[in-house]
Amino acid sequence: MNAASNLPVRAAGEAGPPPSRVVAVVGPPNSGKSTLFNRLTGLRQKVANFPGVTVEQHLGKLRIEDEAELDVIDLPGVYSLNPRSEDERVTLDVLMGRMEGVPRPDTILLILDVTNLGRHLVLAAPVLALGLPTLIVLNMADELERRGGDVQVEELARRLGAPVALISAASGEGYDTVLQFLRGRIGIPRPVELPALNDLPRCREWAARLGAEAKYLPPAPPVWTRRLDGLFLHPVAGPLVFLAVVVAVFQTIFSAAAPLMDLVDRAVGASGDLVGRLLPEGPLRSLVVEGIWGGVGSVLVFLPQILILFLFIGLLEDSGYLARAALIADRTMAKVGLQGKSFIPLLSAYACAVPAIMATRTIENKRDRIATILIAPFMTCSARLPVYTLIIAAFLPERPLLGPLLGTRAAALLGLYVLGFAAAVVTARVLKSSILKSERTPFVLEMPPYRRPTLRQVGLRLFDRSKVFLRRAGTVILAMSILLWGLAHVPTKNGKAPEIADSFAGTIGRTVEPLIEPLGFNWKIGIGLITSLAAREVIVGTLGTIYGIEGDDDGASLQAALRHDLTPAGAVALLVFFAFAMQCMSTIAVVRRETGGWTWPILQFTYMGVLAWVGAFVAFRLVTALLA
């Protein structure tokens, strides 16, 4: 079985379709759709929302040799085109050219998992019925071969009335056929009669008959998946493995990231010095060095940690382990009234609450969905990571707890993650037994076979996350740093910048001081709390700017400066505050959009804010008493 030679119905005198301009990638979940999309577009892609709805659309560009550029749209994974869920409705609307602002595709790449051809082929009926030039891309050719399956591609193409390519999107095998098709170099067989689309059993029979006619030999069951499930779903070993994975992630965030962070730190410091030397003494130099380098630079240092976190999340997702984790978590989720499906958005909330809240649309039950949205921001998102690691590193000496496996700092970080999770669970329980009570909805989740994550996929994801992080550093954090620098330099006294305590920034900080004094925070922390309403990690930049302006002891690190302003009890209180408070404008905006009004975001912001204050107050008192 050689995929590259499988050009079906080679156009001998028969004209192919005109070269395409807008290509839609359609396919069921777990068929390798994103892998194909990434292979087509590489780094030239962006993520946006379809206008008016919350379904993410991935758009990319593709240039084949010297021909015109193509637009590629990656549509959500669907099993059918019956517009029941929002994903299916969007897919159908885009394919029919009914989605405003999205050009109507003139070509479809329908990607199906060839190791499960019978079931996946069902989707070919409604897609081919659209009448657009369609290439049926049978993915996972390598896996089919390895597990001893086979299919006759030419015969399948003839029976389907559409060209078929057998490829491996991960390895690139057979990928050339896809490009040939997009260039209009592959002939299209005569259309055939399709089964009645609304009759699912008949469609499935049709798919089975086609498979039999194309001599489809299903591959042997995935032996490794069974073996791994024997371990990962083992009643005892399964949860232990889960725990070990989590501990390893946290330990790596501290230990492996440290040298990289040093590197970034030194680069930021050195470039700041260089810029400082190039600029003449004066307000401009102060703005650039203290305001921008001090503010943005102190946040940039955390890029390595965030990338390590996303590396792990990516590996877990691409390997198929995430579905098992959802399975293990379902009973716990059921106890608080939610379902395993809430688990996946909640897990991605560990990266960022914004995509997590958008991902809740897979939850069909509206009340379950709102409950999941309301608790998602309690999950420790990556923006909290800089705040947590800064404070932990400043106040907690690193000592081994479990030999080299787990140190004190990683344990403290793990504890904060648990704290956020606990707040989420308790909140869910309260919501689901009061205002959001509902019947339990069925939990249905497909368990994909385990697959080896590819460097390309994971690399692209990390690249994407870096872009998002750097964009935030370049916009929100930069703007807040400049604003803060400005506020810290007025009103001028005798033509000179005031002491920071007498500046506008200091006045603002001191205005809120009475409110936060019971938590052990002074006015400088107060300024940080206010600026971090925009985004949590801004507090790090803010403190960087404030201490940069103060500049009392030259070269003193942010950590050392922080120890002047916080007692250990205050530090714990600050950690608790950040674990609970909803300091993120993007999250508030996305909750408003997803819930269709201001009621839920206002409720959520207030609830989380009160919880943060009370939690920090209790923590401050408790630790003060313990240390006394």
């Binding site: 099993y79 059918s80 019956n82 029941r84 190791t115 499960n116 019978g118 079931r119 069902v122 699912l200 059993p201 499935r204 299903p218 069951p221 499930d229 024997g230 779903l233 083992h234 009643p235 005892v236 399964g238 949860p239 579905a323 399975l327 293990i328 379902d330 009973r331 059921a334 395993g340 069909e364 019947e439 339990r440 069925p442 939990f443 249905v444 989740l445 497909e446 368990m447």
Partner: protein, 103 residues
């Protein structure tokens, strides 16, 4: 809603006293033919898209630690269902009484 105890399952080495009536009665590795789905339309359509078509073969596979949800092998894939859902998928006995082992 009353919590029903679903986690008990016949001992693996004992023969069934009567043929399994729903997916919930299937022991790990055991196979049967799906007869009908007793669930609201939207849920049963979703299940049918995943392969739970009446007349298809379904085999019990792994379980989550604790026994719920359970994984079922159907139409070349594995799908996890909670026990309360599995109890709504009714079986008809296999044509041959001893063709129980699924590989």
């Amino acid at each position: 809603m009353a919590e029903i105890e679903f986690h008990r399952s016949p001992a693996p080495d004992m023969p069934h006293t009567r043929p399994p009536a729903t997916l919930l009665d299937l022991r790990k590795g055991e196979e049967a033919i799906l007869d009908r789905i007793d669930l609201p339309d939207d849920v049963s359509l979703r299940l049918m898209e995943l392969g739970f078509l009446p007349g298809s073969r379904v085999a019990a596979s792994f379980r989550a630690p604790g026994g719920d949800p359970r994984v079922f092998r159907v139409d070349g894939t594995e799908v996890a269902l909670r026990c309360e859902t599995a109890a709504r998928l009714h079986l008809r006995p296999l044509p041959k009484p001893d063709a129980a082992s699924a590989t």
